[in-house]
Structures are given as structure tokens and as C-alpha cells.
Symmetry: D2
Subunit: 287 residues, 4 copies
């Protein structure tokens, strides 16, 4: 996974109270400083009066990307906007959390290895030992941190320490079968989870069993940011697949694996490309 040799780009995600001239001001600021905008996309929530923008640009040759990013964030604050600027020469560091299911685990790692993600996968964390060998086969360190009701707080402390040490920018719960505490979510990096239903339908446990009982004609999967309330975080991506009376619960589980793989992979991708803005329980995904 060598870093690309293309010139470094900056990606700003902005949001704040809408006001006339924001598009002109932002693009003007970049243009006047010799930057070249590659992509710009914006959105207005008319009802809430909020402006959202993603703008990606190449700073002038020789510019200090970190300095330009900091300067832009200050400029945006001056407009009353919240801004985060990411640099393409700084690859996000990703840690996978897994349990025993391995379909999302293999899928994400193979996508990463094939170059789909401009990121570094740096470790796998699990409450079970099952995927240790497979992780090492991929060249990824495996951290087995068992979790029981009695040891959960201690286990999370170990996980947080590890994430800090690894300078992780993102945790991906690839069918990690533990609920992360509000405390963990507050202290750690953002966490993307995959839930195996079309949320908000069938939140909680055994969603395929719930779906079967209810007799739905489509099953779904939902990737969302984990929050303190289970299965309630801002949704990044969802998809569904058609089922009939012929599929029993085992079939739903099998079919659902394809949905889970795809939906989680897509959510991780847009996050790593700095395309997602969260506000309230909603996301703006610029794609």
C-alpha cells in the first residue's frame, strides 16, 4: 500500500448556519491562495437553515498542507462554520473489532489489500481467539481481549489504551458482538458498526429471527456510527435483498452476509474519503 505519488490534496467538511455567499467565500478563499478545487459539493437543509459543504482542493506547489489546513479551519470559524480538514498525505489508521464471524473481516481486509481504501489497517481486536491466525496471515497484529460482564470496564480500558497507542482514527465493528459503552465511545475514535437489519426495524438481538417471524419480504443491513443508544446512531448506508417464504432463518443469515459485507464496506469507504458529515441523528454523505 504505498502512498500515492499524486500531489497531496485537502478535504474540508464544513457545516454551520446558512448565510448568503458561503459558496463564493469558500471557493474564493481557496482560489486567492492559489489552490485548485477538484470537487465541491454542498447541501442546504432549508428547514433547519444549515449549510453543509465538502470541498477538495490541491494547495499551491510548495505549500505546507498542515498550515493551509489550520488556516482554513480558522477562516471557517470566522464564518461561523465548523470545519474539519483532512490531508490525503496522512492516511487514516483503522482498527477492526471482530468476534467469531469472519465474512466482514475477510471482506474489508481484502478490499484494503487490493487498494480500495486510502487508509492503513493497523490491527485487529477481538474478544475471541478464533481469527488470530487469519489476521496474522494477512500480516495484521491480533489483540485478543476477552470481555465478560465482570471484566467489561477493564477490557474497554485496555482497548482504549491500545487505540491510543496505535493512534487509531477509526474503529470498524466487523460483526463485533459486544456493545461498546458510552464511556468508550466518548473517549475513543469514531466507531462504525454494521447491524444486520434495516434499521430502525429489528434493532437489538437476533434480527434475522425477528425478520423471519414478522414475515418481511426484504431483509436489510445498516451501517451506522455507534452511539450510546444501541442501534440508534446516525445511519451511513443501508441496503436490502428480496426474500420469499422459501428462505428460512438460516437462509436469511446466509443472504444477509452479502448485505453486511457490502453495506459495511461502502460505509467505511465514504468515511475514509471524508464524505460523511453527521448532524443530529442524520448524516450527509457527499458521494
Amino acid at each position: 500500500m504505498p502512498a500515492s505519488t499524486a500531489p497531496a490534496t485537502l478535504v474540508a467538511l464544513l457545516h454551520g448556519p446558512d448565510q448568503p455567499g458561503l459558496v463564493a467565500r469558500v471557493s474564493g478563499w481557496i482560489f486567492e491562495r492559489g489552490g485548485n478545487i477538484l470537487h465541491a459539493d454542498q447541501h442546504r437543509d432549508m428547514e433547519a437553515g444549515v449549510f453543509f459543504q465538502r470541498v477538495e482542493w490541491v494547495p499551491p506547489a510548495g505549500a505546507d498542507a498542515a498550515a493551509v489546513a489550520a488556516e482554513f479551519e480558522g477562516f471557517a470559524r470566522g464564518l461561523g462554520m465548523n470545519a474539519q480538514v483532512a490531508r490525503s498525505d496522512r492516511r487514516p489508521r483503522v482498527v477492526l473489532f471482530v468476534s467469531k464471524f469472519d465474512h466482514c473481516f475477510h471482506d474489508l481486509i481484502l478490499r484494503w489489500k487490493s487498494g480500495d481504501y486510502a487508509a492503513d489497517f493497523v490491527a485487529v481486536v477481538s474478544n475471541h481467539p478464533d481469527l488470530a491466525e487469519a489476521s496474522r496471515g494477512y500480516g495484521l497484529p491480533y489483540h485478543h481481549i476477552p470481555v465478560t460482564a465482570a471484566t467489561k470496564a477493564e477490557a474497554e480500558a485496555r482497548q482504549l489504551a491500545l487505540l491510543a497507542e496505535l493512534r487509531a482514527d477509526l474503529v470498524v465493528m466487523a460483526r463485533y458482538m459486544q456493545v461498546l459503552s458510552a464511556d468508550f465511545l466518548e473517549k475513543g475514535p469514531p466507531v462504525i458498526n454494521i447491524h444486520h437489519s434495516f434499521l430502525p426495524a429489528f434493532a437489538g438481538g437476533r434480527p434475522y429471527h425477528q425478520a423471519y417471524e414478522r414475515g418481511v419480504k426484504l431483509i436489510g443491513a445498516t451501517a451506522h456510527y455507534a452511539t450510546a443508544v444501541l442501534d440508534d446512531g446516525p445511519i451511513i448506508q443501508q441496503d436490502v435483498a428480496r426474500v420469499t417464504h422459501r428462505q428460512d432463518v438460516a437462509d436469511l443469515i446466509r443472504l444477509g452476509r452479502d448485505l453486511e459485507r457490502l453495506v459495511l464496506a461502502q460505509a467505511v469507504r465514504v468515511h475514509l474519503e471524508h464524505r460523511v458529515l453527521v448532524y443530529g441523528k442524520r448524516t450527509v454523505v457527499f458521494d
Copy 2:
């Protein structure tokens, strides 16, 4: 809408405890009596031990279709099965219930007029006068039966009397914005409703507003048999459409109209073709 000149066919929907030889016995019974099976489809719920079958056949020339149907039902009872036999020479009689929204109303009637449904649409019932002229333009009698909290019982009595008089086989709630009582549902013919969400998500009122608030990435529609519990009946058909942050509630409502039209039309079609078996909260749809 002239009756087809093809020979009359019989369609049996059977279900009951599974046992060896059911397929052979049913097909043998028909074959021995000179019938020719056109379609046969069956399903086993392995866990529940229930057998389901839809079989469509042409009785021998000159046979009395009503007598064959009755005889078959007796034969099925002897196997411990519940059977309903429909005759293609007896077109189901359909009554539409509407309020003010007209998209499903126009859609269903135009499909019927184009010959998509082997059924007779015989009347439109509404709690509002708005669609009276359009109904009459289609040549359909319009019955305006206002409903208020105070008059609901009386209005339902009038509706039931009308359905009996019209010998209605099916009521289709084409965005009829009243909840039918358990009493009505028990006394009247089957009722198909369209709910404008992917049930069980967003049951109840204003589902598009609920979907917008939750920030889902797909909206849905669900056609189901109405039961005494609101939005809880056996699901016949569901579908979804992709939405993004760019769509506000008005957009969801507009996009949802296409889903509602299509999902309701498909559900009505499979019901009228005798393809739906209900058991518990689930349906078997032989298509």
C-alpha cells in the same frame, strides 16, 4: 373487460400438517379425474411441519367446475388439509376505499382497465367527496360515506351493508385514511392496505416524517392484509427506494407515491390470482 374465452381453470390453495405423499395424492386425484395440471407449486415450512400448495388445473371438458371444486375441498379435508378452490370463470369483485390521495386510485383503475386484473372493480367508497367525479369518469359508482369519531360505527355498518349488497370479494384501501375496526374486518371480505413505510419500521402516522427524522437511506412501502392491530397484518409485498440527504419530506412523499402504487398493485395482483396463503403473521406468495 370481457371474460376470457379460455377454458375455465380451478386454483386450489391448500395448507395443513405435512405428511409423505401429499404431492402425489393431490396430483393423482386431479389426474385420475381427467384434469390437466397447468401449474403446481408447493412449500414446506420444515420447522413448523406445515405443507402449502397452490395447484391450478383444467377440469375435463364438460365438467361442472363448481362440483369439482367442492369435491376437491372435501378430498383435501380428508387429508387433514384446509383448501380453498377458486374458479377462473368467477371474477372476484373488488371495492376500492379511498380518501383524498388519488395516485393509487388512478393506478389501480388504469391497470384494471388495461386488462391486468382478472377481476371486476365494482365501486369506490370514500369518506370524502373529492374523487367522485374521477370515479364516475371511469364508470365506477362512488359512495361517499363520511366518517367521524362519533359516526364511525354507523359508517362501518353502512360500508358493510354496501359490501354485502355488492357481493364484494376484496376491499383495497388505496390510501384510505381511516382505521377499520376489528369488527369490520371480521365481518367483511379480506382487506388489503398499503402502508407508506418499510414495516415494521415507522408504523402509525406520518411515516415519511419519521423516516426523515431517523435519517434512513431507503424509504419503503408495504402492502399487507389489514388486521385488528394497526400496520401489523401479514405482509404481501414490500419495496424500497434509495434516498439521500438531498430529499426533504416533500420529496420522500413524492418518491413514495411510486413505491405505494407499485407495491399495492403487485399485492392486489397476486391476491386476485389466488397466489397468497396466510398463516400466522406470514404469507406464502406463490409467484
Copy 3:
């Protein structure tokens, strides 16, 4: 269909050679003249070096929309860009071309009547008399212009004269079963056609028969701008539906009607909202 009372907006569609600063210049131009940008979306074809933009804005109160539009077009030319500016207070005038099939005909008119399109449907033209009564029922003038091989040139001349007289901005071929000549397409307004296959598969006649013969597992529909080469114009929208061996040609035709309705309606909508830019055989659809 009363005109909206919202303030008039302008929508510019621009394209031309890419160069640094285009986003800043366009948004700056609007901002400096007191305009307020509601939506701006742009695209770069990196390989071809072409920049595309759709920008929608409210000119300052009291401004002459026509003058601002003309001034903007001159500004864009100065940047080497081609620009077309549409005004929301000038509703496009649409003429439907039909033959005998009526599913797209009813669908488009009902959408228009329900307020989905910010446009005026002004007439129906047909080579057959079949839909005359239905058109008049909708309050739309019906022009029956028969077409035979011998009279085609003359018929097209009559059609063009009618379109000129009606000041038509768009022709929608709602399953109009005649090929329009290159001459007609050059002299008349833009023409959107619906082809009942997933182009480029099954161009030409009887696409559902072709699809059946080939044994495809999905059927499709394609809305495109008509060009001198049959079924070869720039594609605006496409969609597909799953089929199995159980569907015969008649079923494909029936299922295809739903696709045709939806795909054509969506294509007409994005065109009328000035969201489509054509270049070569491709379209940019800003939605």
C-alpha cells in the same frame, strides 16, 4: 397548475474547458450582484478536461430575471464556457407524442396534474385517433396526424408547424411508434424517447421478444434524447426489473410497462428541472 408564488430563480447549466478558479468565479459573480445561490453542483471530466456546472440562484429583489440571465450567459462566454440559463417563472411547454399504448400517456399526465412537473403540458400529437377522447378528458388538445411511409415528410412538416405554433420546449415520445427523421430532430425542440430495453442491448424493434429469446434475467427500459441514429441518443435514465423463466413475452410486456412509466417520468422530470447536460453520447444529470 398555478405558477408558484416563490421568488423566481435562475438555473444555469454550464460546460466548457476546465481551468482553475471556475467555481470561485461563477459563485463570485452571482454573489457580487446580490444573488443568493440555492444549489450548486459541478463535475469535472478529468480525462477530457471538461468542467460542468449547474447553479441555481435567486437574483436580488427587483432584478430583471431576463437581463440577469443574458448577462450571465455573456459572463460565461467570457470564461470560454457554454451556458444556458432557465428561469423558473417561465414554465417549459411540453407536447406528448403518442400512438396507441396509453400507460406512459396516463402516467405523465397524472403526474403533471398532481403538480409534479413545473411545466405546462399543452397538447397531445398522435398518428392514431385512439387516445383522443382520453386527452380531451384531461383537457388537452389532441392532434391526430396520421403517418404513412408516403406521407411521413408531410406529417413531420405539420408536426413541426404545430410545435412552433405551440411554442413547444420539449417533445416527449410516450411510446410513439414512429421514428422521427434527422430533419425533424434538427428543426424541432429536444425530444425524449423511452425505449423498452436496457440499451444498448436490444435496440430496434420488439425488444421484449429479443430479451425473451436471449434468456436475460433482467429486463430494462431506457429514456434518452432522440438522435438521428435510432436508439443511440444520450441516455438520461435507465432501470431494470428481475424476471425468471416463468415470465413469457406477455409478462415481460406487462412488467415492462412499469419500468417504462417510471424511467420516462424520471427522465422528463430531470430535464424539466434543467438538470441534464449532454456532451457527446453521454449526459451529466445533476440530481
Copy 4:
């Protein structure tokens, strides 16, 4: 991958001239010999007068599955039908053909390892050495058989000898970038190929480039049985994904990988479950 401990089942795929009583005769034959039908599905091509059936049953305890299968095939011949009977206690043997692309390769092997396929993957054959290590990591023998224009006949002879030695029942071309000759296809086992377009659109080379040039709004993938005519064999499965002007060719290739994986995996699955009947250029897929 231990063999299941469930009792062996037989699956018959029959087709032949339609005649009254086929369902009754087949099910009667099984029932009279103490068999228990688990699934039966049939189809009539009304126009061609052909009957198709898939029937899966458990022979009586102690029966010799091979003898029952042979006896059934004789019975079917007596009805003028062609029948193939597969035994669940005899797992099909699969050989993967690959070149350099590895996404379908990993996907199929991981599905097999997770128990999705009731089959034995026995070897990987490639015209390149690239995937040798990965194959061995999965415990699969890797046969590197280079192919050039000059050596193609010789290479195919080696491949055929290997397939015979391995007693292969199926070859899966998992993005194998060589055209197999008519001679190979005649002498070897059935071959399933994945083509990265929605056939018949964009047959031949570089289909994503073709799709980009044409400006389609959906890309597709098609799994089909390889025949002597390139990309013309009977289609087993197809699917599509939506694209916009924002996706360049590299994006189409990336998005297409998900389609290719899924479509090929589904086609392999239905083949291995004996659900596919070929007739002419079409398939009947009983699922």
C-alpha cells in the same frame, strides 16, 4: 467441510415434451417406492410445449441411492423425458480457472470454506503464477499452465487431462482471461463464466470502457455457461448497479468487482444445487 449427516437426497432435473399427468406420474413413482418428496418445482413453456421439473426426495431407508437414481432415469425416459439425477452424498468437484484478478477467486473460496457450497473445491488452474501462494494458503493445489497463441492447443490438452484426473464436475472461470475453445468446451465438464457487463450489451473486451463510452446509467455482470460463441452462452444470473457521470472507468471497474463476485457466486450456487436446466440459449433456474 465434512459431509452432512442428513440422509442422502436425490435431485432430478427433467425436461421433455409436455403431456397431461406428468406431475402425477413423477410424484406417484416416487411415493409408491417409499420416497418422500422434499421439494418439487415445475415449469411449462406453453409456447414450445416443453415441461421442466426439479424434484428432490429422500429415498426409503436402506435404499441404494445409485440404483434408485438409475431406475428413475429409466422411468423418465419411458415418459419421453430427459432426466439427470444427482445424489447429495456425492459432492461435485470444482476447479477454479483464474488469471491475475483475485476478487472472485477469494470470494468463491471463502464462501466454500464457510460451508456455503455442498461441493469440493479441488484445484486452481491459472495461466499466470500470481495467485499460487494465495491458493496454497487456502490449501488448494495450484496448476500454472501458461497459454500463448502458439501453445493454446497444447495448454488446453494439459488442462483437460488435469480435469479428467481430478474428476472435475465443474469449471468456474473466476475472471480467467482466456477464451476456451469449442473443442475444450465439448470435451470438458460444464464451464461457468462471469462477464463484466449486462449481456448482450458490451460483449467482448473491455466492457467497462464500452459502458463508460456509451454513457449507461447502470453497469452489470452476467454469469453464463461458456459456449463456443464468446459471451453468448445461456445466462444463469445477472445483476446491475447504478452509476452516474461521477464514476470514471476506474470506478466502474471497482464497483463492478462487487457485481462480479455476487453474480458469479450465486450462479455457482444454483448450479451446485442442481437448480439449473439449460435449453437452447435459455436457462430454467428453480430457486
